[in-house]
């Protein structure tokens, strides 16, 4: 399975759409009621980001796309057997989406699995050019990963690895090795598709889009200043994943990231361990220290 959709609450849909299309550079593929649907230019499915107007920001749910329709039945059983209640989301609940299963993680986040979604294509399948015309803003080809906070990192990691078959790329532990503070998990060949770090339950730390290279990250950071978008941190390098990054906020205060680089783990990858006293270097390899904002600003 791979990360397919994040559904995020925003406080002003029009203002957010302007930001997500003109500064980030996603493409709008639909709008219905208080929801807008967007995708990156290289994504083939109808959407990867859903914005929902609300009185507060934060994550409604994230959805991973499974390979085959019958995988839904298999995971439905496995999740229920693990003791987590599962419900079916009927086709048509959201634009272009078919049936899905939904359950709540031990950290309080709502997660969905689906296979059926309308394909709109990327227009680059026959004798294609490397990128399409009319790209805007940072123009990420696709959604990359997300980081969530929760109290019980051990339980959520156990569930994700045992039941959903995620693998651990990196983990942060207390100096005595007794406590798990964060885990970075993958199901594709990316250094993280989803990550969890200790903090309040059911909160979003950030979701990230992919860029091709470091130069694009720098250019994305230029666009933040040009458009008076609030910078959080970077551009810099992560110790964890070895990727390069810049963090910033959407108009409702949801943290976004553009990310590139990092290694390509396989299922047999030996996890990397960081001790909590080295967390500064783990997160921001160049600065070697965290700041309060990065650890306390959540939506």
């Amino acid at each position: 399975m791979r990360l397919g959709v994040v559904e995020t609450r925003v406080m002003d849909l029009d203002e957010s759409l302007k930001y997500y299309t003109e500064v980030v550079g996603l493409q709008v593929t639909g709008r219905e009621g208080n929801r807008a649907y967007l995708k990156g230019w290289d994504e083939e499915d109808h959407h990867s980001v859903v914005l929902v107007e609300s009185d507060r920001p934060g994550l409604n749910h994230m959805a991973f796309k499974v390979r085959f329709e019958e995988d839904l039945n298999r995971f439905e059983k496995a999740v229920a057997q693990y003791g987590i209640p599962v419900r079916r989301v009927t086709k048509g609940t959201r634009l272009a989406e078919g049936e899905a299963i939904e359950f709540t993680l031990p950290t309080g986040h709502s997660m969905q699995l689906y296979q059926d979604i309308e394909k709109v294509g990327n227009g680059l399948k026959l004798n294609p050019d490397p990128w399409p015309d009319n790209l805007k803003g940072m123009a990420p080809p696709n959604l990359d990963h997300l980081l969530l906070t929760g109290d019980d990192i051990k339980s959520v990691t156990e569930f994700m690895t045992r039941v959903l078959d995620f693998h651990i790329s990196e983990q942060v532990v207390s100096v005595d090795g007794e406590q798990l503070i964060g885990t970075f998990l993958f199901r594709t060949n990316s250094p993280h598709d989803i990550a969890f770090i200790k903090g309040p339950d059911a909160k979003l730390h950030h979701f990230a889009f992919h860029l091709e290279n470091w130069q694009d990250v720098l250019r994305a950071a230029d666009l933040l200043t040009k458009n008076d978008i609030t910078l959080d941190m970077g551009p810099t390098r992560h110790g964890i994943t070895r990727g390069t990054t810049v963090y910033f906020f959407d108009p409702s205060g949801n943290r976004n990231e553009v990310f590139t680089g990092g290694y390509m783990p396989g299922a047999d990858f030996t996890p990397i361990t960081w001790t909590e006293d080295q967390l500064g270097k783990a997160i921001f390899y160049l600065e070697r220290q965290l700041n309060d904002r990065f650890t306390t600003v959540l939506t």
Partner: protein, 97 residues
């Protein structure tokens, strides 16, 4: 017309430019008693209490600025635009900051 905001705890006076949020003015003048977070009304770290003065408030998350707090003068300073001089408190008790 530009106004001023005084921080009760330190006596520090912040000049507010036309159309400038309380947080942006504080950041520009190096006033760190008001913390800068998301600048989007979403995280609550910039929360202060207005003790006197009038202001307009932009969209603020009800999760970090619930109506009861809003009713007694708590604001998210990144979404606070003064329409008179203000006196603010950076240490007023709030459930969530």
């Amino acid at each position: 017309m530009p106004y001023q905001a005084q921080v009760r705890e330190t006596g520090k006076v912040i000049d507010l430019r036309d159309g400038e949020s309380l947080l942006d003015a504080a950041t520009r003048q190096g006033v760190t008693a008001i913390h800068r977070g998301c600048r989007g009304g979403g995280c609550g770290v910039c929360k202060v209490r207005v003790l006197s003065g009038a202001y307009a408030l932009g969209k603020c998350s009800v999760a970090v600025l619930p109506p009861d707090e809003r009713g007694v003068g708590f604001v998210l300073s990144c979404k606070t635009f003064a329409s008179t001089d203000l006196v603010v408190s950076t240490e007023a008790e709030s459930q969530d900051r």
